[in-house]
């Protein structure tokens, strides 16, 4: 099952390397968002850590949705999903392979977006990098798991381009709240909330819950 998921993830990464259809659009979107908000907030005059943290996380989530809209595009082109559904592998492997690819796309996008955000919003100082990176990695996993599950759900719908954000964005709200809190806390400010787990513990718990949920339901979601 893991082997099949890795094989599918590899296929999607190879396709992206050859066609550059998803990551390039995501990069343009996230960079444009960060630059526009930077000038709108006059960040060089001090936008404040909470505004900067919120801006980063809003950009990450909306950019992720852009990628998720293409999560099963390669399978839709020539009906490859039929071949995957009939292959003698656990159908969770189809979802997991796509989720791993989405995770890879997000990491690549953030390798550009986070330094740009840092450069534009914090000429001096800035947050502690490690908690921000940890929060981004944990949130990326959650977004990829939930988003790919939602993309699978929306697959057969005529209005999937509208349906997918409607499904994903409410589910991503807890991730954004925890991410903003972790990022704000990395400035040495009191973020508040999330109890004894803290925002990073909450993000890890979110990932575990949705990993189990998606694993258990993907067999039924991806079929007829």
């Amino acid at each position: 099952m893991i082997g099949a998921a890795l094989a599918l993830a590899r296929v999607k990464l190879v396709l992206e390397l050859r066609r550059r259809e998803v990551v390039f659009a995501m990069l343009l979107f996230v960079a444009a968002t960060i630059v526009i908000v930077h000038f709108a907030l006059r960040a060089d005059e001090g936008a404040g850590p909470r505004a900067a943290a919120g801006m980063l996380w809003a950009a990450v989530v909306f950019t992720a949705v852009l990628g998720l809209l293409r999560a099963f595009a390669a399978e839709a082109e020539e009906g490859a999903l039929d071949a995957l559904l009939l292959a003698p592998v656990d159908r969770a492997a189809i979802w997991l392979g796509s989720a791993l690819a989405q995770l890879g796309f997000l990491v690549v996008v953030e390798l550009v977006a986070v330094p740009l955000w840092w450069l534009l919003f914090f000429q001096e100082g800035g947050p502690e990098p490690l908690p921000v990176i940890a929060a981004l990695l944990l949130a990326n996993i959650g977004i990829a798991l939930v988003g790919t599950l939602a993309a699978g759900l929306a697959l057969g719908a005529r209005t999937r381009d509208v349906l997918l954000p409607v499904l994903v964005l409410p589910l991503a709200i807890p991730l954004v709240l925890a991410g903003v809190t972790a990022t704000y806390g990395a400035f040495g400010e009191e973020g508040g909330g999330f109890g004894p787990l803290g925002p990073l513990g909450f993000l890890a718990l979110y990932d575990l819950i949705f990993l189990a949920l998606a694993w258990g339901t993907s067999e039924h979601l991806l079929g007829d």
Partner: protein, 209 residues
């Protein structure tokens, strides 16, 4: 007693307002080849997708070896193949990469060169298939469907887009499988049943004749 390889019992399928298949009942015995004939829109593709377990019937049952087709376990899926109107391949991969993925998902070490040579694509093996013609895609889809030597082969108008050589290859593959595996083939070629020595079943406006 061994159940039929494919069974449809009063199978109907509705897409919104349209009833694509009406109470179809059909049994295909193990090793038998059945050719589904009928005009466009008769319900041939719907019947094949129900038999493959890719669609759930609105009413009735579709079974493979006596097991509900939608719930066919992995071991059963390992022995079947379905090729539809679309090639079911990844357009950004090469022909060889597509077959390698198929082999990987089936957990089989397949001779990819032999599989590609069998459909006349040996010299195009390392080309990305987004430059392939419809006929070449059909050939590769046939290679994908037969490479793991399935015991149940479901083909939906496999000759569409094929040239004369391609049709000869297809006939050869179907004749090779005749009696050795169960084959259910949708076709517009009224002569195909006679050429294969197969049973012909006619489908019209969603009804089996």
């Amino acid at each position: 007693m061994q159940p039929p390889a494919v069974t449809l019992e009063g199978c109907s399928k509705r897409f919104g307002e349209r009833l694509a298949l009406r109470k179809a009942t059909l049994a295909v015995e193990p090793g038998e080849t059945v050719v589904l004939l009928g005009p466009n829109g008769a319900g041939k593709s719907t019947l094949l997708r129900l038999a493959a377990g890719l669609l759930r019937p609105t009413a009735g049952h579709a079974r493979i070896d006596g097991v509900d087709a939608v719930d066919a376990p992995r071991a059963m899926r390992a022995g079947m193949a379905y090729a539809g109107h679309r090639s079911q391949l990844y357009r950004g991969l090469t022909a060889r990469e597509n077959l390698a993925l198929h082999a990987r998902l089936h957990g089989r070490a397949l001779d990819l060169d032999a599989a590609l040579a069998a459909v006349g694509l040996a010299d195009r093996a390392d080309e990305r298939i987004d430059g392939f013609s419809r006929g070449m895609l059909q050939r590769l889809a046939l290679a994908r469907a037969t490479a793991h030597d399935p015991v149940l082969l479901l083909l939906d108008e496999p000759a569409s887009g094929l040239d004369a050589d391609g049709r000869a290859l297809l006939d050869g593959a179907l004749m090779d499988g005749h009696g050795r595996r169960t084959q259910l083939v949708a076709s517009h070629d009224a002569d195909l049943p006679a050429r294969l020595g197969a049973r012909a079943v006619r489908l019209d406006a969603g009804r089996l004749a």
